[in-house]
Symmetry: C2
Subunit: 346 residues, 2 copies
């Protein structure tokens, strides 16, 4: 049986399906949307339609459904900058997976901090009738949420003027507590220094909520901070410089670095000074950046739960659309400790 093999077989529509099954489009639609049962369509007919659908490979045209129903089973993920640093990567991955579980697709876009770009992106998404929007920031901070944004959640960000939108953020205070406790439990009650910020709460990089919250958490444990070196940027070079400066005047027994990149620099300074990690000085850090497990010794650090943050964002977005949720709720996601080899009991 010779059959024409079109280069690109045209999509099979509901009408095609109805015809093949010998029923009306309505009936076919009813069956396919699963409402055949409640409307008591004959089991016989139902099977006929289902089989035809299977044979023809019928799939409803999502665009048409969208036009008809106003929904698109699509959400937009817009981040301020580089939806691409490893950071954002895992957030997207989490969001992606949670979305897939719900049969939802993800648009992504980056605003690069440009409000005009942001507006354009939001419009492009709204024009495509997205069901909701995830507004993500690369590092935890406050953001101004555009008006008329529709259903949305803030990811890794808090609304500057309160907006009623829910927020998903890492539990930085808890992370600070974890880091400090971990040191305390290892017997480090003194000689603990801070690299990257502090000791005063406002001694961190400007708009960084991570800095102040981590400090708050550390304080809560009662751990006594012997001293600190602030850094404007949390990059390895600054960690190196800060630690070198610290070592000029002090003999730390433990370092809390405000993030892994700083810790990398600290390692270098420690090595330069002939100090061994963790024999001479223990090091704890935050983020669980990939390098943390490449360093020698592997770095003990409190992980940013990027993946979970992403997952939670779409979950909250859908919960919110479903029912009335408490407005402006902020969801804090725990930051788990990654115990590795840079802390030693004394």
């Amino acid at each position: 049986m010779l059959e024409a093999s079109p280069v690109s077989r045209p999509r099979v529509t509901l009408a095609d399906l109805a015809q093949a099954a010998g029923v009306s489009r309505t009936t076919a639609s009813l069956v396919m949307t699963g409402r055949g049962r409640e409307l008591r369509i004959s089991h016989d007919v139902e099977q006929r339609v289902l089989r035809a659908a299977d044979e023809l490979g019928y799939r409803p045209n999502a665009v048409s459904v969208g036009l008809r129903t106003g929904t698109s089973r699509t959400i937009g993920f817009v981040s301020d900058t580089v939806a691409t640093s490893r950071l954002a990567g895992d957030m997207i991955k989490g969001a992606l997976e949670a979305a897939r579980e719900r049969g939802v697709m993800l648009f992504i876009g980056e605003t690069e901090g440009d409000p005009a770009l942001e507006r354009g992106l939001l419009h492009a998404m709204q024009d495509r009738q997205v069901d909701g929007i995830i507004l993500a920031a690369m590092y935890t901070r406050t953001i101004k949420v555009p008006k008329d944004i529709g259903p949305a959640v803030l990811l890794n960000a808090l609304p500057k003027p309160a907006s009623g939108l829910p927020s998903i953020v890492p539990d930085e205070v808890g992370a600070g507590r974890s880091a400090a406790r971990l040191l305390l439990e290892a017997g480090h009650h003194e000689g603990v220094y801070l690299i990257g910020a502090g000791p005063r709460l406002r001694d961190g990089p400007a708009a960084s909520v991570a800095a102040v919250e981590r400090l708050v958490g550390i304080r809560e444990t009662g751990l006594k901070i012997a001293g600190a070196r602030a850094c404007a940027e949390w990059q390895p070079e600054e960690g190196l410089a800060a630690t070198r400066s610290l070592l000029a005047d002090h003999r730390p027994r433990a370092l809390i670095c405000l993030n892994d990149r700083l810790a990398l620099g600290a390692y270098q300074a420690l090595a330069d000074a002939g100090l061994s990690v963790p024999d001479d000085v223990s090091v704890v850090s935050f983020d669980d950046h990939p390098i943390a497990s490449w360093m020698r010794p592997k770095l003990t650090t409190v992980a940013l739960p990027h993946y979970e943050l992403g997952r939670k964002a779409v979950q909250v977005l859908f919960d919110q659309m479903g029912e009335e949720a408490e407005p402006g709720q902020v969801h804090r996601v725990a930051m788990p400790v990654r115990h590795r080899d840079s802390v030693k009991p004394r």
Copy 2:
């Protein structure tokens, strides 16, 4: 003047616009799609429509346009795994930017190597009438392209059974040449060892085309390779082990590491052996992973042009849709050298 301020103002449709401007929907449509000129619509009417559109904030409903025209100004980006490692991140960023320049949105999805997942994703995208698809792989390799995929390009991948689809890949052979020449020009004619693969072409990680092509490029320069240590996985630990093993028997003057993570391990082994980079041994590498500029001394490496790859993918996708392009063409994107501090002339 008091005005009702609806919580969510209903979208303004073409009909609203037409009515406000006192014209028919067709006329409004013509003006808005810019074809008013060629059809010689009175300048007066045109201005009237344009102004009304501006005042009402009219924006065409993309879903409806999609249903009508079959196009969606949307493309899908599906990667095999983790569209999120820093690697993929920059590819997505490049694609995103190129897409934005064309007024196109990006769907993203990950197959995690699962063919069923891949089919589902592709379907979900096709159901939404994407105009084209970018099939991306995280590390350069061959992939089997699903049938009936429609307009598509392969990103960082080659089709296993030839498929006629264009491919965008980094010019790994050129990268190999660059790395070798760089050493040659620094006077390193001997004592050059390989970490990660070789010296035979097939001595790399299995499906990795990067390994063999980089080796090919190195060979082309005539650079004499004094020896090599292969690694199954290109991770820091293996680089450390391989280099340590190498140092047990040889005194290299230069190392070519097949990627930056291996180089990180090599640095550690070199340090352990009391050897200085670059005074005692020069190191060149590939990828330009973020750590390359965090290492001390900063690592000279040949960069994977992720961003450019992403850009080029959407560019080729659109070119291909526009006209007849040579089928199965493979586009090689140059890999630029990042001169830093790990190579010293001898």
